[in-house]
């Protein structure tokens, strides 16, 4: 009996000692993601990743001796709702920084809110418009569509293929990547000989691909700019028509479901993607090997689903933010912003990040790996 009382007293004392650290108000981190809706396959792993890692960081003692609190809203892929939630995060929830904004559309809608409130915002969307021109408080972690075009064209140049047929979706990502590809093609000596498009709900792209196949002078490769189910249908139609030239997809299809949906037709398709997809195949001396293997194991063992690069972007965004808060030793928006800008040599799942006042993404072309689908699996080709 007595012993138990002593034990209880000790426990209480220990608790009291720990209280000052916990009693401080938590650091509130906001997030608006498209957990449902058409971009759910991006937003869902992002939300899972944020929850998972914020819990882990809190178990390890939090940041600056304070707990982290995640306030997460689901915009359903709707830019108007995203903006409403952004305002709520700033005015009611009093967050210190934001990680999230799943799509380019929702991110662009939220930027003015966070810029005005001087709150650092790390977007998880691909579009280059988010960081170009540079806005004082806006950052992003994923590679841009322009980099995808450059990586693909560099690979084509290496293979000596110059006449390229482009087929893109008319959605935000497809349209933006199409523009970037048309812009940078000349720099790589690539001629775009066909430029076909298809709508977001289209279910048959054989007419467009037939036009590409029959273009005067012929094509040597086809590039598809889009994400979601469109590329899977393009890939299947491409195989059906037996066009017989290499097919390139973008990083927008870098998830297991693309291989499942496209089936045997995906064989031989190439795409630029983050190292995360081929974590096991990376050489041991690769600087990213440890980080991506660690994230992959943690995610897959707790979420019971295969890792995707999209969740990886959320991991990178959260870790960059936390390093910046530690660096700033403060939760003041401007000081955190300066902390994010001071990020050098951060190794994330998307690549090695070097931020600066003029580069709010901090990735270069080396962050992309060229993959080929062989035997139903991603294979590293360079």
């Amino acid at each position: 009996m007595q012993r138990r009382q002593i034990l209880a007293a000790t426990a209480a004392a220990a608790l009291c000692a720990a209280v000052p650290a916990i009693a401080q108000a938590p650091i509130r981190i906001g997030s608006v993601l498209s957990v449902t809706g058409p971009a759910a396959f991006l937003g869902d792993p992002e939300a899972r990743t944020l929850r998972l890692y914020i819990d882990r960081i809190n178990q390890a003692g939090g940041v600056l001796g304070r707990r982290l609190e995640l306030i997460l809203y689901d915009d359903g892929g709707d830019a108007t709702r995203a903006r409403t939630f952004a305002t709520r995060l700033v005015e009611e929830d009093r967050i210190v920084a934001v990680v999230g904004g799943t799509t380019t559309g929702t991110s662009l809608a939220m930027i003015p809110v966070f810029e005005e409130a001087k709150i650092p915002f790390i977007s998880l969307a691909g579009g280059i418009e988010i960081i170009e021109p540079v806005k004082p408080f806006t950052f992003k972690t994923p590679h841009t569509d322009k980099m995808a075009c450059e990586k693909i064209f560099a690979d084509l140049r290496k293979r000596g293929l110059t006449r390229v047929g482009l087929i893109s979706g008319t959605g935000g990502f497809g349209a933006s990547m199409r523009n970037q590809c048309l812009r940078v093609a000349g720099e790589f000596g690539i001629t775009i000989v066909a430029d076909e498009r298809y709508g977001p709900g289209d279910t048959d792209m054989t007419p467009q691909l037939t036009r590409i196949r029959n273009v005067a002078g012929g094509v040597q490769a086809v590039v598809n700019a889009d994400f979601g189910q469109g590329p899977a249908i393009v890939t299947r139609n491409f195989a059906q028509l037996n066009i017989g030239v290499p097919l390139y997809q973008s990083h927008g299809v870098a998830s297991r479901s693309f291989i499942e949906l496209a089936g045997a037709a995906a064989e031989g398709v190439r795409l630029p993607a983050a190292a995360l997809l081929v974590a096991e195949q990376l050489p041991d001396d690769d600087p990213q090997k440890r980080v991506v293997m660690d994230y992959k194991r943690t995610y897959e063992s707790t979420q019971n689903q295969p890792v995707s690069t999209f969740g990886g972007h959320a991991y990178d965004g959260l870790m960059i933010l936390i390093e910046a808060i530690k660096r700033a030793k403060s939760t003041d928006g401007t000081r955190i912003r300066d902390g994010i800008r001071a990020t050098r040599g951060f190794i994330g799942t998307g690549g090695v990040v070097n931020m600066s006042a003029t580069d709010h993404m901090g990735l270069d072309l080396s962050a992309f790996r060229m993959l080929e689908i062989r035997g139903g699996n991603w294979t590293l080709v360079d």
Partner: protein, 290 residues
């Protein structure tokens, strides 16, 4: 030439699905004057239920049968719990009710299934068949053959069975049909159930080619409605012709004009047709009854 043929195959396959959706619209419209915008959700249910039943280990034909049963039950429930209680409301109110029902069905499907795209294997392999320089997927032939069989079966049912004749009588004149002792409530239920079955079959036939997700119904409902209008709403032959025509228009516009504006080209042509023939290609003239 081989190019034209490729566009035609593509247009026929897509058009066959539009035709089946338009046929579902027509059935319900004839029996009740309701434009059922939940028609696309039947197609979605056909695909999604089959995907998940198949993934759970059911053989494909059984999974497809289950999907058709689910869609029929949904159609009957839609009639019993949404349309029937609002009996006597005007057409616009009923249309709004069906739009609401389609949102509900989509929401429930999102909870029951997931939000990803899915497919199941094609019925007879995936090796394209070369035909006069064009290539066709075996599944496209299934879609065309299946659609033809469904249209023929519906035709037989309407012409040869007593129930079918009751449906036609109700479509011609509801009051008169009731006066001669036809149970019009039963006829309405049959129309909703049959629409559900046709939609689900379309979904099952097309999923190996086009993939499916809980969101596919909305666009199909719009395209099917456009096809029904083009053919002349209320006319089954018109619905099929309108669907095939819309599919062909889209693929030929994408192939010969511009893939960016293919939908615009297709819809502009439909508007032009409706200007010249306000009742659609096969529509009967509205006769003002005094």
């Amino acid at each position: 030439m081989d190019q034209l043929l490729q566009f035609v195959f593509s247009g026929l396959t897509v058009g066959a699905v539009y035709a089946l959706v338009a046929l579902g619209f027509t059935l319900i419209y004839n029996a009740s004057d309701v434009i059922n915008f939940a028609q696309g959700e039947f197609v979605m249910l056909g695909g999604m239920v089959t995907v998940f039943a198949h993934a759970a280990g059911m053989p494909l034909p059984l999974a497809a049968g289950l999907a058709v049963a689910v869609a029929i039950a949904t159609g009957l429930a839609l009639h019993r719990f949404a349309i029937e209680p609002a009996r006597g409301a005007d057409a616009v109110t009923l249309i709004i009710i069906t739009i609401g029902a389609s949102i509900l069905i989509r929401g429930l499907a999102q909870i029951a299934f997931d939000r990803q795209f899915h497919r199941f294997p094609a019925f007879s392999g995936e090796d394209p068949i070369a035909l006069l320089g064009a290539t066709v997927l075996p599944q496209s032939l299934w879609v065309l053959g299946g659609a033809a069989a469904i249209v023929a079966a519906l035709r037989l049912f309407m012409d040869k069975t007593l129930l079918g004749k009751a449906v036609r009588a109700t479509a011609a004149n509801r009051l008169a049909a009731r006066l001669v002792g036809i149970d019009t409530a039963l006829v309405l239920a049959i129309a909703f159930g049959a629409s559900g079955a046709i939609g689900a079959l379309a979904g099952i036939l097309i999923t190996p080619i086009t993939l499916t997700s809980v969101g596919v119904g909305t666009l199909l409902a719009l395209k099917g409605f456009a096809a029904a209008m083009l053919g002349g709403i209320g006319n089954p032959v018109g619905a099929v012709a309108g669907g095939i025509a819309l599919g062909l228009l889209e693929s030929l516009a994408a192939g010969f004009v511009s893939s960016t504006y293919k939908d615009a080209v297709a819809f502009l042509l439909i508007i032009a047709v409706l200007f010249a023939l306000p009742q659609g290609l096969f529509g009967r003239r509205a006769i003002e009854r005094v």
